[in-house]
């Protein structure tokens, strides 16, 4: 990778993860520079989601190490909660809390974890909600929102604590095609603001447009890593070429 000049926000080295006798990640290495977007692409089951879950310590890795801002977070001595406070995650299925309004969802972590006073937390939440086009939805419960609105609310919830790094796990996979655009627009806006992001996605067009770095995973291994131009325009590995041939044809029209 050429553009990694600053110290990376996230760094993975030789990460290995197994479930029983299945090796889900093998010898995975990754570096994410500040204010860049990394897209993880690959077939279902290639390990994209597991990689993100490992980065947020939702899964314990078997071997290797992960650093966040130079601190090894996979050391069993670190406070996992403190690590997670610095990372925002948006899940494929939104995972909003159904018993709370959108505003309560968004202000939960700022108030309970970061000790932000209620008024201040709500002010910031409303500002973020407004910016993501959810200004009128603060008092609604998640079940009353469309999928796209729910996913935008989930993004606001992740952003409310000003994370150092945002992990997006196939955030458009559960959405109707006409709702995908509104969520991707939000991600584009975040990139313009300089948010460091790692996203697992099936939206190849979007990955190509937004990602500074693209990682192709196959069977738990990083097969190819490079700029979007390199990986999409001139893939070096046969496996990458085969994968792209298979998916890009069906996905060409997507933003």
């Amino acid at each position: 990778m050429s553009r990694v000049s600053d110290a990376p926000v996230l760094r993975m080295e030789s990460v290995r993860k197994t479930f029983g006798s299945t090796v889900v990640l093998r010898d995975v290495g990754l570096e994410v520079a500040p204010h860049t977007v990394t897209a993880l692409i690959g077939a279902s089951g290639s390990g994209k989601s597991t990689l993100l879950r490992c980065a947020n310590l939702l899964e314990e890795i078997d071997d290797g190490a992960i650093w966040l801002d130079g601190e090894e977070i996979t050391d069993p001595r670190v406070d996992q909660d403190a690590v997670r406070r610095r990372i925002g995650v948006v899940f494929q299925a939104y995972n909003l809390f159904p018993h709370m309004t959108v505003l309560e969802n968004v202000t939960l972590a700022p108030r309970r974890v970061h000790g932000v006073p209620r008024a201040e937390a709500e002010e910031r939440a409303r500002e973020l909600l407004g910016r993501l086009g959810l200004g009128g939805k603060a008092e609604e419960y998640p079940d009353r929102l469309s999928g796209g609105q729910q996913q935008r609310a989930a993004i606001v919830r992740a952003l409310a604590v000003r994370p150092r790094l945002l992990l997006l796990d196939e955030i458009t996979a559960a959405l109707d095609p006409e709702l995908v655009g509104e969520v991707l627009a939000v991600v584009r806006g975040l990139k313009d603001e300089g948010m460091t992001m790692v996203l697992a996605t099936h939206e190849m067009g979007f990955a190509r447009e937004i990602a500074d770095q693209v990682c192709f995973l196959d069977a738990g291994a990083v097969v190819e890593r490079g700029t979007a131009e390199e990986v999409f325009g001139n893939p070096r590995q046969e496996r990458t070429r085969r994968f792209l041939r298979r998916v890009v044809g069906t996905d060409a029209g997507r933003p």
């Binding site: 030789s14 290995r16 197994t18 479930f19 029983g20 006798s21 299945t22 090796v23 093998r26 879950r53 310590l57 939702l58 899964e59 314990e60 078997d62 071997d63 290797g64 190490a65 996979t74 050391d75 069993p76 001595r77």
Partner: protein, 296 residues
């Protein structure tokens, strides 16, 4: 969690994986931490035990209490008698337990029937559960066990065991009906929709799709109610049936020493513990099957 013990997972493919020094160090640290946690747990348990023991033994009335409640001789005399009484409790548990499950299920299904025709059935089932869940079991037992024989009906039993069992069944089927109903209602409507869309009748949908899911989900609370029933079989002794409690009672009445009660109590606890552990195990297994995994 899982990586601490066992050797690294075997790979199916040509993956020449050798655990790194980093992993070895990490696992050694985790093992040390686990050992420390075990030591702390053992120590705090020991301290708690010693404190409790000293507190009881140094109580001013302890010598006297020890004599009237923990007499070895009376315990030895009471134990076989109490065990013989316990056989009655066990039979009651089996028969009442089965009757409660059947009756409870019928009540629950009656309450979930839709359609105006079924209104009387629904209302009756609702009234039944409301009434018997509210009525204290001891009062229910007295009314049934003492009241029914007072009617002097011909052909109706006056056996306190049968009547006591009937009273237990009345109360517990009301509880269990509510457990089943909660289970039925917790099955998502989309399941019923899917079943009906395949052409299953309402009844078939209930039988093959809704109830199996509902019952599976409600196993832990059901077992909880059965554990409770197991203890409450001791209450049939108020009608004069000689169960474990009554057997102890007889010796107490003769000797004025309360040790037999302690013996009976311990026997019930000993009977309940396996059931409680089983409940916990089933609950944990269900939770594990549903959980999507992860380190949290």
């Amino acid at each position: 969690m899982t990586v601490t013990k066992g050797e690294p997972a075997r790979d199916d493919t040509e993956d020449p994986y050798v655990p790194s020094a980093r992993r070895t160090e990490r696992e050694a640290y985790k093992r040390a931490r686990a050992r420390r946690a075990t030591a702390v747990a053992a120590l705090s348990t020991l301290v708690t035990g010693v404190v409790l023991y000293l507190l009881v033994v140094n109580a001013p009335g302890w010598p006297r209490t020890k004599e009237t409640f923990f007499d070895r001789g009376y315990a030895r005399e009471a134990f076989p008698v109490v065990l013989r009484g316990l056989w009655l409790n066990l039979r009651l548990l089996l028969v009442c337990g089965a009757a409660v499950l059947v009756l409870g299920m019928l009540l629950a299904v009656a309450r979930t029937l839709r359609g105006p025709v079924f209104f009387p059935l629904r209302a009756l089932a609702a009234a039944y559960t409301d009434f018997f869940r509210g009525l204290p079991l001891i009062i229910n037992l007295m009314i049934v066990v003492l009241g029914v024989p007072a009617l002097r009906l011909t052909g109706v039993t006056v056996d306190p065991v049968l009547l006591g069992g009937a009273a237990l069944t009345l109360t517990y089927s009301a509880y269990v009906a509510e457990v089943f109903r909660a289970g039925i209602e917790s099955v998502h409507p989309s399941q019923r929709a899917a079943a009906r869309s395949l052409g299953l009748t309402n009844r078939q949908a209930l039988r093959h799709v809704v109830l199996p899911q509902a019952v599976r989900r409600q196993v832990p609370p059901l077992l909880n109610d059965l554990v409770s029933l197991q203890k409450d079989t001791g209450l049939v002794s108020i009608g004069g049936a000689v169960d474990a409690v009554r057997a102890a009672d007889i010796i107490v009445g003769r000797s004025l020493n309360y040790t037999p009660y302690i013996v009976a109590g311990l026997v019930f606890v000993a009977l309940t513990i396996p059931m409680t552990r089983f409940t916990d195990w089933v609950t944990a297994r269900t939770a594990r099957r549903r959980a999507q995994g992860g380190a949290l």
